[in-house]
Every structure is written in structure tokens, then in C-alpha cells.
């Protein structure tokens, strides 16, 4: 069936809830209304108010109560309405969800999924546009997933719901309704024209911890995820550079095998993410690549990222690392070093 990313996420929840009566969905506006982005539409009607319900506006409460439910034996899938709203819940995520298995030597565990829309491109300003993935990948005990298309969204979300540990599931909201490639001045392309929107019916999984090569190439390796996968593809198209584009899909645990194999092949590496540059996930990628592929590198590892400013409103497209900036980095990476 053909689905948008929203449809795929909704369908993943539906399939998983049907199979596993322990899955409960909670968050702000997720019940009767079906979520501000509609990702939980119809679930309350189908599964009842005790399996999909609205919560008070308290991210700490949503995650904290979810942890309690998970330790009871349920599998909560909680929604934080925007990743930017996550901060009040951070203590519960870092000190509790991520640490419970360790501190109780496996006696109490926390199988829960924390979904949140991330990234910009929707004129959301600084409180509806952030990409806080590095704040999660830095926390041991968490797994962090960022899908870039409908088929992965469903398969990864089902994997996350079946995982024995807490999973942070980041949904690039600019991709919800189409494979946005950074060309904000062009008409929106809908998912239905994209091959990865043809989503299998029923249950299937995309394993956590496996990257996907979206485009093979020999000139350079692009390490990216989420919205930037499509931006990188557009930049490769625009520049005509034979880039190999690796969609990481899971940031932690990271598929280093695929990453290192690609960089060893191309000898050049450009890292692209929307989150701010300094101490972003790209820094970890760069460190790993230089450590493992040093003798294969023919150029410095480049990073293209959001500027180290808060996400601005009017200047959104000057901030967003679009295909021009990414393409420029590709060309620089190919120069003689």
C-alpha cells in the first residue's frame, strides 16, 4: 500500500497494537484527535481509551509515567509533540529510562519508545525545529533511530516497539508528507511518487542498527540521516558527483561496518546533518571515520550542518543546510588535498 510517513507511522502503531495488547500510546493530543501530526489517528477509536489516550501537558509526566508502565510490563509508546519540548523529560530519559536495566542489574527494564518530530523546514522557529539527536546518542542505555522514508518508518518503529530497551524515535517532520530535498522554492513532491512509500501490509521490521546505501557511488561517501538524505541526493544530482549516500537510519547502535566499507572505497567523506555543528553527531562520525579509515582518506572529512545559532524563523532557509551548501562540500571534498 502507498503511504506517507505519517501513514506509515500510524500503520506501524496499528499493526503493533493489534499484535501486542501490552502496547499503549500516550501523549498530548494523541487520543480522540489523533495527534497534531495525525500519527495516532484512529487508534483510540479502534483500541479504546485505555490503550491510546491524551495526557496532561507535562513531558516529564508523559515519560515518567511511561517508565512506570514499562516497568510494570506494558510497552508504552509515548509521543512528545515536538522534540523541542523534550527537555523537561530529559532527567527521566537520561537518569531513569536509560539507566534502569544497569542500576538494577537487569531486574527492572524499560522497554518503551519515545517518539518525537524533529527538524525544521516548516517555519517553526526555534521551538519547533530542533534536532536534538546528539543529546540522546551521548546517553548510554538509549537507542536512537531516525527514519527518512515511509517504509523504514514503519519497519523501524515496529522494531523499536519490539526492542527490550528504550528507543528514541526521531521523526523528521518535514518528511511527514513528502521527500523534501531542500528545494523549498519548488512545489512539494508527494510521497506517492517515491518508491520507498510503497509500504508492505502487516508486520515487518527494519532492524535497528543497520544503515542503508541509498545511492552507490565511487567519488565520495556521504554519511547522513533523516531529511538530509534527500538533500544529499539532490546535491549529488545537481553537481553530477558520483556520491555514495549512506542513510544511517540508526545513530546508536551505529552500523560502522557499512560506514567504514564505503569510506574505504571512496576515500572521501562528507557528513551532513541538520542539527547544529559543534558537538553534533557528525563529530562522532568524523572521529570514528578518521580512526578506522585514516589510511584510506584522500581529503579531510567535511561536515555540513546547521549553523551554531538557535533555529531562526525568518532566516530559516539561510540556516537550513540545503543542496547548494551540501553540493559545495561535495566539490571541496573532491579537490586535490
Amino acid at each position: 500500500m502507498q503511504l506517507t510517513m505519517i501513514g506509515a507511522i500510524q500503520n506501524a502503531l496499528d499493526v503493533a497494537m493489534e499484535m501486542d495488547p501490552d502496547i499503549v500510546v500516550l501523549g498530548e493530543d494523541v487520543g480522540y484527535f489523533g495527534g497534531v501530526f495525525r500519527c495516532t489517528a484512529g487508534l483510540q477509536e479502534k483500541y479504546g481509551k485505555t490503550r491510546c489516550f491524551d495526557t496532561p501537558i507535562s513531558e516529564l509526566g508523559i515519560v515518567g509515567a511511561g517508565i512506570g508502565m514499562a516497568t510494570y510490563g506494558l510497552k508504552p509508546c509515548v509521543e512528545i509533540q515536538f522534540a523541542d519540548y523534550m527537555y523537561p523529560a530529559y532527567d527521566q530519559i537520561v537518569s531513569e529510562a536509560a539507566r534502569l536495566r544497569y542500576r538494577s542489574a537487569g531486574e527492572f527494564t524499560c522497554p518503551m519508545v519515545i517518539r518525537m518530530p524533529t527538524g525544521g523546514g516548516i517555519f517553526g522557529g526555534q521551538t519547533h525545529s530542533q534536532s536534538p539527536e546528539a543529546l540522546f546518542t551521548h546517553v548510554t542505555g538509549l537507542k536512537t533511530v531516525v527514519p527518512s522514508n515511509p517504509i523504514d518508518s514503519k519497519g523501524l518503529l515496529i522494531s523499536a516497539l519490539e526492542d527490550p530497551d528504550p528507543v528514541i524515535f526521531l521523526e523528521p517532520k518535514r518528511l511527514y508528507n513528502g521527500p523534501f530535498d531542500g528545494h523549498h522554492d519548488r512545489p512539494v513532491t508527494p510521497w506517492k511518487k517515491h518508491a520507498l512509500s510503497e509500504v508492505p501490509d502487516g508486520h515487518y521490521t527494519v532492524p535497528i542498527g543497520e544503515a542503508a546505501v541509498r545511492k552507490t557511488g565511487d567519488a565520495l561517501t556521504v554519511l547522513t540521516y533523516g531529511t538530509m538524505v534527500h538533500v544529499a541526493l539532490a546535491a549529488a544530482d545537481k553537481t553530477g558527483i558520483d556520491a555514495e549516500i549512506v542513510d544511517l537510519r540508526t545513530l546508536l547502535p551505529l552500523d560502522t561496518e557499512t560506514i567504514f566499507a564505503s569510506v574505504r572505497k571512496t576515500g572521501r567523506c562528507v557528513i551532513v546533518h541538520e542539527a547544529t555543528l559543534t558537538c553534533g553527531f557528525g563529530a562522532e562520525l568524523a572521529a570514528l571515520v578518521q580512526n578506522e579509515c585514516f589510511l584510506h582518506l584522500e581529503a579531510p572529512i567535511a561536515r555540513v550542518a546547521g549553523w551554531d545559532t538557535p533555529y531562526p524563523h525568518a532566516q530559516e532557509w539561510a540556516y537550513f543546510p540545503g543542496p547548494d551548501r551540501v553540493g559545495r562540500a561535495f566539490r571541496e571534498a573532491l579537490e586535490d588535498w
Binding site: V24, T50, R51, T55, P56, S58, L60, G61, G64, A65, G66, I67, G68, M69, T71, Y72, G73, L74, P76, P88, D91, Q92, S95, E96, L100, R101, Y102, R103, S104, A105, G106, E107, F108, T109, T140, G141, K143, P164, D165, G209, L252, P253, L254, T256
Partner: protein, 411 residues
């Protein structure tokens, strides 16, 4: 419109007494034992709002159990309660000394607060879950958890059920209804509510108990817990142990000048009781009432236990630096062990001689357990969890980067 333009001034609350002052609580009015009514568990909370401002007490000055909250425990149960409290006190004393001897890094005792956790546990049923703080080890003792395991946890030795990963006293035992203690304050309160909600979602009949101290009620988790508990009528007992002191900060800093901690429940429409936390019988009776209310799907109850932290916050602070040494003695609610002992003597089922004998027996038992624990190891000696073990249980399955790091570390 006011014409007063004098400068504003900030109010910073101060406790009544600091070191060098002579504490005097004689004018503090303590409600008489037996004077507070006992509503039915399904009574309209509006009809007993004043219970959040009074103190429910059962044991009077003569050691008699009086009033509507009395008469819930038989002789054997009272003997058991006394033994649990005495065991906790003796255990604390041994562990405090062990810390001073360098056998572990840190310890936190319950001195003066033994009744609360020991009595509360007896109000729960198997399968219920406590989400405790670091000062409720009486829950474990009253649930029959082995002292040896507790001690091994304190020593972080090879017998430590949590493999040396947690600070001393941050116990965990699912089987005994004791949730893994966090070192971050307040986080467990909302988790208790979520756990209770899960029991209701499943249609089970288990209830949860959240625990928090007076100081930590200022944490956001407390507010979230009360909102969620009230919204979903979660089957949870929300306990607040008001021991007057948060390290060196008196309870007025968390509470301000208004109301009581119990009364915070009213703002959420949650019924609230305030109880003499140094009165084993009152504490047990109130716990039983709140637990029954939760189990009958009538929703949450806030319970404030009025008590006094007679010792330091932990082995890392000296209370004489911030409060008068005499304050503990002057505290009007007395000592929970001495009060229950007096009651049992009054009932004719206990004597001074038997008490001395029981103390000796308990001390012997604890010394024996300590020998056993130390034969396994202490923080710095003997058999301890292997360094390689620190890489386990981060995830259900060790991810490749941790496997690499463990190899790099040489384990």
C-alpha cells in the same frame, strides 16, 4: 491605588533554631491521640479536608492506643513491628560504623524514622510495588528481604544483587515490591503513578506506593505525579515523609509559610491525610486506609508522615553545623521504637527485660550477618564484582561499540 513606594524586600525563610539556640517546641500544638476522625475510604474527600492540617495519632503519652484509628493490629503483629524497627536501627548502627571504618563509601540511616517504612509495608499485599527513596529500607526488612543481601549491596561486594553499580543503600528487589532506587530525587514519584496506571490498564488489582521527602516535593516530578494521579485516578498511595530537614535545608524552604505538604493534594482534588510518623500504629492504620482506597479503585491518597530526621542526612554531613544538637530531643513526637515498646509494656505483652534481650538478639544476628557479608568482601577488599561486569546490562544485548570498549579495557 497604594502610594507606598518603599523598596521591595525578598523573604527568605529561616528555621526557628540554629546551632547555639535552645529549641523549644512546647508551644507547638500537637493534636491529642485519638482526636482525628476516621472517614470511610469512600467518603467524599471534601468532608475531611481538615485531615491535611491535623495529625492522626493513636498512641497517647501513657502508651495507650486510642481513638478511631486504633485496634487494627494484634499482639503478634505489634511484636513483629517492634522487631522490624529495632532491626533497622541496629542494622543502621552497624553500617554507619562500617562506613566510618572505611568498609564502604557512604551510608544513610533512618534514625527516628523507622516506623514509617516498617509499618507501611505491612499495609501492602504481595505484588504491590513501592517506589522508595533512600530512607525506606524498613520496607525491605518488613517484607522479609535478607539482611545479607542488603549488607552486600552496601559493601558493593560480590554478593551485591546490583553488581556494585549503585551507591550504598540504593537497593532493588522486584520480588519484595521494592523498585530500584534512583539517586536523582523525586523521579520515582511519577513512575509510581505510571506503574499504578498500568495495573489499572491491565485490569489487575495491584497498587503502587510513591515515596518522596519534604524537600523533594519541590521537584517537578512531584507536580507531574499529582496531576497524573488525579487525572487518571491511579491506584497509588503518594507518601511524603516530612522529616523536617533536606540535608541542611529546613522544610520551610520547600513548603513556604503556607499550609502543609499534605494539603498540596487538595489543589489536585486528591484526598490527603497527615499522620504522626513516629507512631507505628497510626502510620500503619493510615497506610492501610490509603491502600484500601487505591485497591478499591477509589483513586490516589496523599499521606504526609510528620517525623524528624534524628541523624545526619548521610555520612557526608554533620547536622550540628546547621541545627541545634538538642533539637532531636526537643522534637515533640518522640522516638518510634520507645513509643511502641511503651505501648506493648502497657498492654502487658512486653517487659524491659525482654526488650533488652531482644536488642541483644538482634545485635547478635546483625553481627553474624556482617561477618558473613565481610567474608564475601567490602568495597575495597575481598570478592567484588569484576571490572568486566561494568559493561553488562547497559542494554539487553551488548552493542558492538561496548564489546570493543570492553576488549580495549582488557576484560
Amino acid at each position: 491605588m497604594t502610594t507606598d513606594t518603599s523598596p521591595l524586600s525578598l523573604h527568605v525563610p529561616e528555621p526557628e533554631y540554629r546551632p547555639g539556640d535552645v529549641p523549644d517546641y512546647s508551644r507547638v500544638s500537637i493534636p491529642k491521640a485519638g482526636s482525628v476522625s476516621r472517614p470511610t475510604v469512600d467518603a467524599d474527600p471534601e468532608t475531611f479536608r481538615d485531615h491535611a492540617f491535623s495529625i492522626i495519632r493513636v498512641l497517647n503519652r501513657n502508651g495507650d492506643a486510642v481513638g478511631p484509628w486504633a485496634g487494627m493490629l494484634d499482639d503478634a503483629e505489634l511484636h513483629e513491628g517492634l522487631r522490624h524497627m529495632m532491626t533497622l536501627r541496629a542494622y543502621d548502627a552497624r553500617m554507619m560504623m562500617a562506613q566510618r571504618q572505611g568498609k564502604t563509601s557512604f551510608y544513610m540511616q533512618h534514625l527516628g524514622e523507622e516506623a514509617i517504612s516498617c509499618a507501611f509495608q505491612k499495609a501492602l499485599a504481595p505484588g504491590d510495588m513501592n517506589f522508595p527513596t533512600y530512607r525506606q529500607a524498613g520496607l525491605l526488612i518488613a517484607a522479609g528481604y535478607p539482611l545479607l543481601k542488603m549488607m552486600c549491596q552496601v559493601y558493593s561486594n560480590d554478593g551485591d544483587p546490583v553488581r556494585g553499580r549503585q551507591l550504598p543503600v540504593l537497593y532493588s528487589s522486584k520480588e519484595h515490591g521494592f523498585f530500584s532506587i534512583s539517586g536523582n530525587l523525586g523521579t520515582q514519584y511519577i513512575q509510581a503513578v505510571g506503574w499504578a496506571m498500568a495495573s489499572a490498564i491491565r485490569g489487575d488489582n495491584k497498587i503502587a506506593a510513591g515515596w518522596i521527602g519534604d524537600g523533594s516535593t519541590a521537584e517537578n516530578d512531584f507536580h507531574a505525579a499529582l496531576v497524573f494521579a488525579s487525572t487518571y485516578k491511579a491506584p497509588v498511595v503518594l507518601n511524603i515523609v516530612n522529616n523536617q530537614w533536606a540535608i541542611s535545608t529546613f522544610q520551610g524552604i520547600a513548603r513556604g509559610g503556607a499550609g502543609t505538604f499534605a494539603a498540596r493534594g487538595h489543589g489536585f482534588g486528591i484526598p490527603a491525610l497527615r499522620v504522626d510518623g513516629n507512631d507505628y500504629l497510626a502510620t500503619h492504620a493510615v497506610a492501610k486506609w490509603a491502600a484500601e482506597r487505591a485497591r478499591r479503585n477509589l483513586g490516589p491518597t496523599v499521606v504526609e508522615y510528620v517525623t524528624y530526621r534524628a541523624g545526619g542526612h548521610s555520612t557526608s554531613d554533620d547536622p550540628s553545623a546547621y541545627r541545634p544538637k538538642e533539637e532531636s530531643e526537643a522534637w515533640p513526637l518522640g522516638d518510634p521504637i520507645l513509643r511502641l515498646k511503651a505501648h506493648l509494656i502497657r498492654r502487658g505483652v512486653w517487659t524491659e527485660a525482654r526488650h533488652v534481650q531482644a536488642e541483644a538478639e538482634i545485635n547478635d544476628e546483625i553481627r553474624g550477618v556482617q561477618k558473613e557479608a565481610e567474608a564475601i568482601g567490602t568495597l575495597h577488599d575481598g570478592s567484588r564484582p569484576s571490572p568486566g561486569d561494568m559493561f553488562e546490562d547497559v542494554y539487553a544485548e551488548m552493542p558492538p561499540h561496548l564489546v570493543r570498549q570492553r576488549q580495549e579495557a582488557g576484560y
